[in-house]
Symmetry: D2
């Protein structure tokens, strides 16, 4: 009888599903598209499977077009906290800069940090692991002549310094994109290398983001 | 014995402090200044005393310079919900429009409504009575030539319609200001009638706001 | 002999072509489109024919899309002075206001007046009769809630005052449009009454402009 | 007799004033200030004297605060052509970029080139030698994080390419400033190294500009 029980327990243990880590990608239209068929989230999932880690992670896209950091905060309770994620990859900042000139509704530098910091702190309180990304590009010129390059660099710099200071994993997409464009944009095109329209990712862009993201995420214990 | 008990109960009742209604004024720099010596909140308090209702209400200013509706949402938990108010007078919208042109960090029309609506709903869930104000002025010209008149009218219209539809007390400051300027700005000055600088209130402006607010607040049961 | 000479002189006079007044319409995309098949300039021409005055006037469109007052000045020598017109109808100001928010390249209020004044003075020096128009609309809401209403009113006011002060014929298109929309936009639509897209004229808009313009132009001796 | 004549001719030649080359500095507030006591134009004059070339050049400042390229064109006839200069140093572009965000009245990229090109061509027709400068800085951060860095680089690039293509002397102030700031701004300050306020020149800035300008101007035959 005792023997039988032991076997039953072992069997139970063996078939008990291991709790997957739930990873939320939290962002704007790039992330919204990223959840589509060839989007970066789908590619992260493929990379995960290639590494035979599909039992360790599940991936959820929570991107909404046009979002700035304050729009993330607007839906932070519902789309992040209420979802009980283990890891949240925050990929925001492009519209915060871009919308200053397109519709006058971007985000002040200080407020960008304030909203971001508040969400990071709430995640930490709940034991959620945040991962921060620098904003990629608005325009693919590789000679520092894109209209928003200065401002994007400024916001990216804040993210890098905040991540370092607070010991948060950083995915430096802006640096990856710039390095890639230095090598792969010999005609200095404004779009078409990693984006379709200067901002939204084409297949190469989605792949680059996916590789950077998977490299960072799979390291998280 | 029964007689004695009755007297004791009466005495207890007589000395029991009546619970004052806590009124929070939630807004931007105008409200921040409104809490100062001659600000509109101080004047509301004076009007309340004139009506001998100082035992019925207490007034708290929660204004922060530069705030837009999304900045109110940023501090909504701490500055409103955690304060357990009975009534919240929301006076916001000027920077949402103004900052579009000054720093490119105003608020989109649809997002203005979304953030506002979310706060109103959270107040209602808690049994807090919201009161909505239309944004007053950016410029005191009375012939519809202030740069942001169209946009302010547009946002004010949303507030009016939302308040009506949702049965929320409305303080139509923009209408009060316009009516006042029609009568009292014969030289069509850009500032100096109700404001010091086209936006922030002078003594007459604070008094006008205080009268409108007190009229609305004292009616609330 | 004398008799014969007299007849010959009369015959000469009768067949001598009367010099038509050359009217240039000088403006932006609205004027550029105005020169098209159903554009306002074509309609002015039809109205002129209805009044049997086609031997008195010829009409030339000089509109270029996106033009602001400083763009008119850029091509003023070539497109106005070098054409030797008798009358120039200037219809400008929409992009001066509009481009402030769309691309950050509008025109300062003071510079708007300075460029305009310089061209008017150069026309007067040459004996060219200028006619000024107020800018029509950016949005057809009739309750003062179009984003640029305040600024358009401000620039229109400058044009009215300048024209009055300098005794220049004025075509107050903005007033005509507003009056028309008060009566003919009962659903308060943003576009579709006089414009196709809030700015560019549909057939009704072209007709309204043509009537106002012809009324003003035919009076000029 | 012949001897006498020869002497007379020599005397005439000796006392005949050599025609100085008239150099106009044509620009915005930086050039307006440049004509002041310690401004860059005064310093160019000092450098010219040090080189004992004060009989070869005279320097005239024609800078007006807030000017963009279209404002230069506005006063081009009066302030340049009517002055009969030999050389015109054009230092413009900062406000064309800057005013996009401060007042929505900057200059479109294509129009920047169009206005600039028109003035260069008119100078060439008159035999005036133009000299082009790239716009210096809006902000002295040396890590590409100034808000307008991308746009300034874009406009500077146009100037460099136009000057090269049209064989016009170029003073690459932006490059000089950037090189200087790389070496002399170790704390990455936003202002105070070459400017007082991120844009207008302090003494070091005026000196740097003066040296670059004098180097270019004195070479012109």
């Amino acid at each position: 009888m005792k023997y039988f029980v032991t076997i039953a327990v072992l069997a139970l243990f063996a078939f008990q599903p291991i709790k997957k880590k739930k990873v939320i990608f939290f962002g704007d239209s790039i992330t919204q598209q990223g959840a589509g068929p060839n989007g970066y989230i789908s590619k992260v999932d493929s990379l995960c499977r290639s590494d035979k880690m599909q039992n360790d992670f599940e991936f959820v896209g929570k991107g909404v077009g046009g979002n700035r950091v304050y729009d993330l905060f607007y839906r932070f309770q519902e789309d992040v906290l209420d979802q009980n994620p283990d890891i949240v990859v925050v990929y925001i900042g492009i519209n915060d800069v871009w919308h200053k000139t397109t519709s006058g509704t971007g985000t002040e530098y200080k407020k960008f940090g304030a909203f971001y910091d508040k969400m990071i702190n709430k995640m930490k309180e709940r034991g959620i692991q945040p991962v921060m990304c620098t904003p990629s590009v608005i325009g693919e010129f590789n000679d520092d002549t894109n209209l928003q390059d200065g401002d994007l660099n400024f916001y990216a710099k804040w993210i890098r310094e905040y991540a370092t200071k607070n010991n948060i994993p950083l995915i430096d997409l802006r640096k990856s994109f710039m390095d890639y464009l230095d090598k792969n944009n010999p005609q200095n095109e404004e779009k078409g290398i990693l984006t379709t329209d200067r901002v939204h990712l084409n297949n190469a862009g989605n792949l680059l983001v996916a590789q950077d993201m998977w490299t960072a995420v799979k390291k998280i214990k």
